[in-house]
Symmetry: C2
Subunit: 139 residues, 2 copies
DNA sequence: CACAATTAGTCTTATATCAGACTAATGCCT
DNA sequence: AGGCATTAGTCTGATATAAGACTAATTGTG
């Protein structure tokens, strides 16, 4: 490892995480699902029909980014956009049947990866890292 | 914090790091230097005149990305590209006087941010996190 | 030496991401 | 009810990043 400042390590650890995710999805026959789709799918698995602004807030992404991402997921037939009946400016983002078929794969993969991290780092250290990252993010 | 899987935390911690960097650069009057420029500048501060492929290797980025980034730094007058006299395919990337003026700002800012992280997380925990991230990256 | 294999870098295309400006719908205040 | 401030989302343009295919230069091998 050439550099060891925290910024570099965080960036590369993120890349590594996404590589793992993509490999697992491909192995499960869902290679078209990109790691970034988690920002939309994970919140919708919890609560379907969220609006774009709310998705952006939960993923801590800008509304512009969320607009773009929702379009990609729509193109890939994972979500549908329907007008919010209560607010003519807004859309409700709804999971498709295809996304529902993907749901168990997503859940299993996330558990698998967190478990892998626990094995690699030690469960105690993993918890400590997560806690530290949360504090850093909230700073 | 809505989600707490490791991937999300890593991504957001990276974003936060870059926000800090950008804010410090701006405050020091170097707002035009983007956080990503570190991938080129930091290795060149260590050893000037590296080639694009070597920069890519050290930053763990693709050659395509490094080509793009070097062009941006050239545009911003932070590096020059000169043909490698020993290899007609390659370029040597050289820091400009402007980049040299930026160097102390970069070094100071990196120290400052790592210190801030040490304060926020505790020095021992920071070291532990760095170590854990390295292991994760090498996995 | 000739030429095949490798290497250095780039081009094209696609994915992620945001800042700033904009449009249209909503809501609030009088 | 009328009008202004706010909110939801989008458009434009820029920054980061990589996969795949390509060109040109170099190197190694017979």
């Amino acid at each position: 490892m050439d550099r060891d400042d925290l910024g570099f390590l965080l960036a590369k650890a993120t890349q590594r995480w996404n590589e793992f995710l993509q490999a697992r999805f491909r192995a499960a026959g869902w290679g078209a699902v990109r790691p970034s789709y988690g920002s939309i799918l994970v919140p919708l698995f919890e609560e379907d029909g969220l609006r774009i602004g709310e998705l952006a807030r939960r993923a801590r992404l800008s509304k512009q980014t969320m607009t773009t991402m929702v379009r990609l997921l729509e193109r890939d037939r994972l979500v549908r956009r329907v007008r919010d009946p209560d607010d003519g400016r807004a859309f409700r983002i709804l999971l498709t049947a295809k996304a529902r078929r993907f749901e168990p794969v997503a859940e299993h993969t996330l558990i698998e990866l967190n478990t892998l991290a626990g094995e690699r780092l030690g469960e105690r250290r993993l918890q400590s890292v997560k806690h530290a990252l949360k504090e850093w993010i909230e700073t």
